[in-house]
Amino acid sequence: MTAHVPLSWYLMLSAVLFALGVAGFLFRRSVITVFMSIELMLNAVNLSFVAFSYQWRQTDGHIFTFFVMVVAAAEAAVGLAIILTVYRNRSTLQIDEVDSMRN
């Protein structure tokens, strides 16, 4: 087919993925799944950046995406180390049960 897709559809896909990430972040109770929802949100934002970079025909959007990926890598490393430490000390991966500082 010779039909081409308008750019706004890429942006809508990015919005839907971001919304799914927020839903996962708010409703899931396993720490690792919450973390993965954060990564899903970051990916959705990357798609937006690349789409807008296409619209303005500039490569700067790609540079932003690159930095988002780098920061996501650093965050994933530290975050997973924190999860390992929490598991070692509390023996649980449900965020509702890590509440010893409440009240």
Partner: protein
């Protein structure tokens, strides 16, 4: 052809994204997230971002998610226990969500009526040469700062994940 590829990979990304949020066992969520990243890499290729597509697969799907999968396998994470919610939330939740998304999409379409069509090959400056040139001239300071950030993250991860010396 462009539209067909977009629909196919957008559908894959959506299905895998829903899977990430819905699945109980973390390893299935992790692999669905890898699927999302792969589909997004193809969409980046359609938008002319070849270097970013390759970096997405090599770094994001091939290293960061491997780290997630390692941690899930090492911790032997189990699926979550189901908690019972109110019946109303269960029945009204998904239709309301779809309505909300439909309204947002309609608003987006109305505000950006003349968004350009994405033609494969219309943006030729997404290759490694162009990205590299920008990265080392205009964005040199952020580049160096992120390398320091990665060093800090390495130190933090090594210290946190070390076994306590009794």
């Amino acid at each position: 052809m462009d539209a067909g590829l977009f629909f196919l990979f957008a559908a894959i990304a959506l299905v895998c994204g829903i899977n990430v949020v819905v699945q109980t066992h973390p390893i299935k969520s992790a692999l669905s997230l890898v699927g999302v990243m792969g589909a997004l890499a193809v969409l980046y290729l359609l938008l002319g971002a070849e270097f970013i597509a390759a970096v997405q697969v090599v770094v994001y799907a091939g290293a960061i998610m491997v780290l997630f999968v390692f941690v899930i396998m090492l911790l032997n994470a189990d699926g979550e226990t189901r908690v019972s919610r109110a019946r109303l939330a269960n029945w009204l939740g998904i239709p309301l969500l779809i309505t909300l998304l439909g309204m947002i999409s309609y608003l987006i379409q109305r505000e950006i009526p003349y968004s350009p069509r994405v033609v494969f090959g219309a943006f030729g400056r997404g290759g490694p040469r162009d990205v590299g040139r920008l990265l080392f001239t205009e964005y040199l300071l952020p580049f160096e700062v992120t390398s320091v950030l990665i060093l800090i993250a390495i130190l933090g991860a090594v210290v946190l994940a070390r076994k306590e010396i009794e």
